[in-house]
């Protein structure tokens, strides 16, 4: 019993790293993803092509590879990042690309009539996006954003390869030391709790926004 408590305490520390990566990645990648989506749909052709290329690369290669690349390749060209910063950079660039695609599809699902109504009321394009299109889009994309966010919780376990003591790595260390599988089960329960809380939060958000539906 004491042993289990000790295990759990150790793993809570690992969970801190996991949560840190998760929260910071989310806070950075959502706005970056939105900016990338706006760039992608803009009339400025070079910008639009650049964003398309960025999304294509980030979605077309494994996140694991991107992590290793940032971790090992950047120091070779003289860019020294801490382990945490390297992990955050890779996660943020990767997730921003996925969010960008979701936002782009969401923006394009809003009918032409909304733009026309805003235009005939004298609103500029930035005003129209900020006040009319993006608020509606955010509501439409909640389900896919929720999915990606839950994926992110699980993807944080990839930093395991960067020798950072996240939840999964702590669990493995204990398992190897004590030949006891309990830490894996505990880790599973921890991940489940995190994804459960997220699912619940997104449900609340969706319910909140459902108020202007028919």
């Amino acid at each position: 019993m004491d042993n289990l408590l000790h295990t759990i305490m150790l793993m809570l520390e690992g969970t801190q790293i996991t949560l840190e990566i998760f929260c910071i990645t989310l806070v950075l990648s959502l706005p970056i993803g939105l900016l990338a989506a706006l760039g992608r749909i803009s009339d400025v052709k070079p910008l639009s092509l650049l964003m398309e290329f960025y999304v294509w690369v980030m979605r077309g290669t494994p996140l694991m590879l991107q992590l290793l690349f940032v971790y090992f390749a950047l120091p070779m060209v003289g860019i020294m990042l801490s382990d945490l910063a390297a992990a955050l950079l890779a996660f943020t660039l990767n997730y921003a690309a996925y969010f960008a695609e979701i936002f782009r599809a969401g923006i394009q699902s809003i009918g032409r009539g909304q733009y026309e109504a805003a235009k005939t009321l004298g609103m500029t394009y930035p005003q129209t996006m900020r006040r009319i299109i993006i608020p509606q889009m955010l509501r439409h994309v909640l389900p896919p954003i929720s999915n990606e966010t839950i994926n992110l919780v699980k993807d944080t376990s990839l930093i395991y390869i960067l020798a950072m003591n996240d939840l999964l790595r702590v669990a493995r260390t204990i398992v190897q030391r004590e030949f006891d599988m309990t830490p894996f089960v505990v880790a599973g329960v921890f991940y489940l709790i995190m994804t459960f809380v997220l699912t619940w939060a997104f449900k609340r958000l969706e319910a909140h926004y459902a108020k202007y539906d028919q």
Binding site: Q114, K119, T120, L121, G122, M123, Q127, Y212, Q214
Partner: protein
């Protein structure tokens, strides 16, 4: 539309041509609307009525011709016959005296009725919400929807939504209101309330250009009626003479179908 002095011309379109790809939709439209005129535009589907209306406020851009609104140039015709628009800022300013009501209402679904009305005056004219609010509430009373001010559009009937859309356009104090088949998306029993609002607006001498299939509205509320077919204006006149003694064969055939 006769005897107009220059300073009460609200809208003047000359020799408007507009194509979508190889399809020529407007084939030389000339049009003048004076202050207080209510112009009803009728005609078969696909004849270019919406396109013409949408050219007025630059939702579509013309290929050649010129458009003047309240004496200010929106687009001029160059020597080689091309349409040349004024710059973005000037265009926005010229068009600020126009309002539009769409067939599909196009209310902002994520805002309450009152917020829909406040949005443009606050965002575009940079007025304070507290200052605009009484005016917006007055407009809602006028269209009979004051008690729905805190509802979201999704909870309103089509007729109510369209009245909100009219009030939203009026909140910007336009001098010309454009209507593109405002009752065509409504159940028949709901068209009456919208037409009533429009008649009241006409009675207050709002300048209006109305594309419509409602012959009773054109006959009773309009000051001028115009019949369009295949991208040209076939016939126009006061409602009295237009409906009593149409001259063109196509007009006669169309009216027979409608009545």
């Amino acid at each position: 539309m006769q005897n107009m002095t220059n300073d009460n011309i609200m809208l003047k379109m000359q020799n408007i041509h507009k194509s979508f790809g190889s399809l020529e939709v407007l084939k030389g439209i000339d049009l003048s609307v004076a202050k207080g005129d209510v112009l009803a535009i009728i005609g078969p589907s696909g004849s270019g009525k919406s396109t013409m209306l949408r050219c007025i406020n630059r939702l579509e851009e013309i290929d050649s011709g010129s458009i003047e609104i309240k004496g200010r140039m929106l687009v001029r015709e160059t020597a080689d016959g091309e349409a040349e628009y004024v710059d973005e800022a000037e265009s926005r300013d010229v068009l600020s005296c126009t309002g539009m009501v769409f067939q599909q209402f196009n209310l902002f679904p994520h805002m309450t009725v009152l917020q829909n009305l406040l949005e443009a005056p606050v965002q575009v004219k940079k007025r304070s919400a507290a200052e605009v609010r009484p005016e917006a509430e007055e407009l809602l009373r006028k269209v009979g929807l004051f008690d729905k001010r805190d509802c979201y559009p999704g909870r309103l009937s089509g007729g109510q939504q369209q009245r909100v859309a009219i009030a939203r356009a009026l909140a910007m104090n336009p001098d010309i209101m454009l209507f593109d088949e405002p009752t065509s998306a409504l159940d028949p029993e709901l068209t009456g309330e919208v037409l009533k609002t429009m008649r009241e607006l006409a009675a207050e001498h709002m300048t209006m250009v109305v594309v419509t299939h409602e012959m009773a509205f054109a006959r009773e509320a309009a000051s001028h009626v115009m019949f369009m077919a295949d991208g040209v204006i076939v016939e126009q006149g006061s409602p009295g003479e237009f409906f009593a003694s149409p001259k063109q064969e196509r007009t006669i055939a169309f009216l027979q179908n409608m009545l």
